[in-house]
């Protein structure tokens, strides 16, 4: 019994990384109608930048995370402003291909800059250690990740539902021409949303550095997970992304415990079934 509850906690902290990366992906799709294949690579860039600022330059952990968010946000801005914006009008297959080109560039750039080996900086002292939960030591850092993930969920909800900025973005998402007609600067909203989504991915990556390794392969691994989650939750559905992150995170924590062999296969089966039966996502109204 304790094992099950404890594994649920582990799954919850895993779910938060998934949530941070899929939130950005689904927001970008919801507003720009672009599936950003390179979103996993932005997660990876967040991880490596955090490693540099925190692990190599020795800056305070908080500042390192903030700086990596800004760095990746800038990268996202460049990707949108100078590349994606020029091809919104053509077949969406090309947008997919363009972001695929970014994956190739970013993944190799990381190898050139940081080398092909894994990087793990130490856990910051104030987050080190463990609490006892269900008779086992539960790392404080995991609790911190859960707290940040939940905080981001609340902030996003407030931002989109309650703020002026959120209303503008929602209006643009539901009808970009109408938004344009009433005076919304649509290109600027697009840039802003893409940048914001990139920063969410970077937050996930940056937070993961001290416990999950920063390696050149994490981008490719994370993007597949994020695709699964955003599809299950419904492309462009933020609430759906949150719920399905929890689902997939907790499920894979139990999966590795009870049926490690078929965990991966099983998750893809869920994705396929959702796409076939409810392509608008499990949690669409």
């Amino acid at each position: 019994m304790d094992t099950i509850a404890f594994q649920g906690l582990i799954g919850l902290s895993l779910a938060m990384y998934l949530w941070l990366i899929s939130a950005g992906l689904t927001i970008i799709f919801g507003v720009l109608r672009i599936v950003n294949f390179a979103h996993g690579s932005l997660f990876m860039m967040g991880a490596y930048l955090a490693f540099t600022f925190y692990g190599q330059l020795g800056l305070p952990f908080w500042l390192a995370i903030l700086l990596s968010l800004l760095g990746v946000g800038l990268l996202g801005l460049v990707m949108e402003r100078f590349f994606l914006r020029r091809i919104y009008s053509i077949d969406e297959a090309y947008q997919l291909l363009l972001t695929f080109g970014f994956i190739l560039i970013l993944d190799d750039a990381v190898k050139i800059i940081w080398g092909g080996v894994f990087k793990i900086p130490p856990i910051p002292a104030f987050l080190d250690g463990a609490w006892r939960a269900f008779g086992r030591p539960f790392p404080v850092y995991n609790a911190f990740v859960i707290a940040v993930g939940l905080l981001v969920a609340v902030l996003l909800w407030a931002l989109f539902e309650k703020s002026w900025w959120g209303r503008i973005v929602r209006a643009t998402a539901s009808d970009r021409e109408m938004a344009n007609a009433i005076g919304v600067n649509v290109p600027r909203v697009f840039s802003g949303v893409f940048m914001f989504g990139s920063m969410l991915a970077a937050l996930g990556g940056a937070m993961g550095t001290p416990v999950r390794v920063a390696s050149p392969g994490i981008g490719a691994a994370m993007i597949i997970q994020a695709f699964i989650i955003t599809v299950i939750g419904g492309l462009g559905n933020l609430k759906g992304a949150f719920v399905s992150s929890l689902m997939v995170g907790i499920l894979s924590a139990y999966g590795t415990l009870f049926f490690p062999v078929f965990e991966l296969f099983f998750i893809f089966v869920i994705m396929v079934v959702v796409l076939l039966v409810r392509p608008q996502g499990l949690f669409a109204r």
Binding site: V35, F83, R86, I87, I90, E92, A93, Y94, L96, L97, L98, F100, G101, F102, I103, L104, I105, L106, D107, D108, A109, K111, I112, A220, I224, F227, I228, V231, L235, V261, F262, L264, F265, F268, V269, M271, V272, L275, L276, P279
Partner: protein, 308 residues
Amino acid sequence: MVLILVVLPSLAGRYSLYLVIQILILSVFSLGFNLLFGYTGLLSFGQAGFFAVGAYACAKILLAVPNLFLGLLGGVVIAAAAALLLGFLSVRHTRIYFSMLTLAFGMMIYSIAWKWRDFTGGDDGLVGIPRAPLAIPGLPALSVASMERYYYVVLVVSLLAIWLMYRLVNSPLGLALQAIRDSESRAEFAGIAVRTYRLVAFTIAGLYAGLAGALLPPLENTVTPPIAHWSTSAEPVLATLLGGIHVFGGPIVGAFLFFMIKDVIVRFTEYWLIWLGVIVVALVMGFRGGVVSMFARRAARAEAASDR
């Protein structure tokens, strides 16, 4: 061109032959992909799944019955059957949902190759696959153990596949597919059973992926799960994009360029993918027609200028 390919073994060394075999395999793989993408308008990100089905099926057969003919035939048939089955489900969607669905199916096959240890050998893959003799029923068995002999097998099979595809895209079926790509509703009004045609295109694309995959294990003597991964699905996508999607020969030229780029850049730096990425970005931003139509357009312009 074909003549050069025929006399190649007497001119080139083993490494060049190996490279040309790889180019031919990717050409067949990409031609199938482009029937789906360039001709039918469906971007699949799961073709590596069928490539792997072909490769694993061929490898399993060769390990049990050492006959290359059976291996290739089995690989093709099983991959086509898998494509028919998964295609039936995939063509319910188009555009991004189709791409996502094929990606998921491809990764399902990847996870089977990776995890079903007893059958696929898990992450070690299948090893010791023989380059077994080619024994077509009714004909004497032909040993293809040497690189030159195997090169000729791949050459004949690929040329045949290319010729058949050429016939296909210029047949009424090919024209119907292009009509669907250009306007689904117009094609429907013209009486084309859109979904059935898409399924046919999907199955043929899977068959070509399976054939390409089946040609690989006798060359490498092993098969491992990464060939089913989505990054392998990207190879025909890149090759087709490089060569050009709206020209028949685009994927073939693209496959050649893909390996040339790789071969040239790898001599200078191990980081060749970053340059491939730069090329992809440049192609998407500026030259969506690919290399072939770029030259075709230039030639047409030069001709128009000389007419004046």
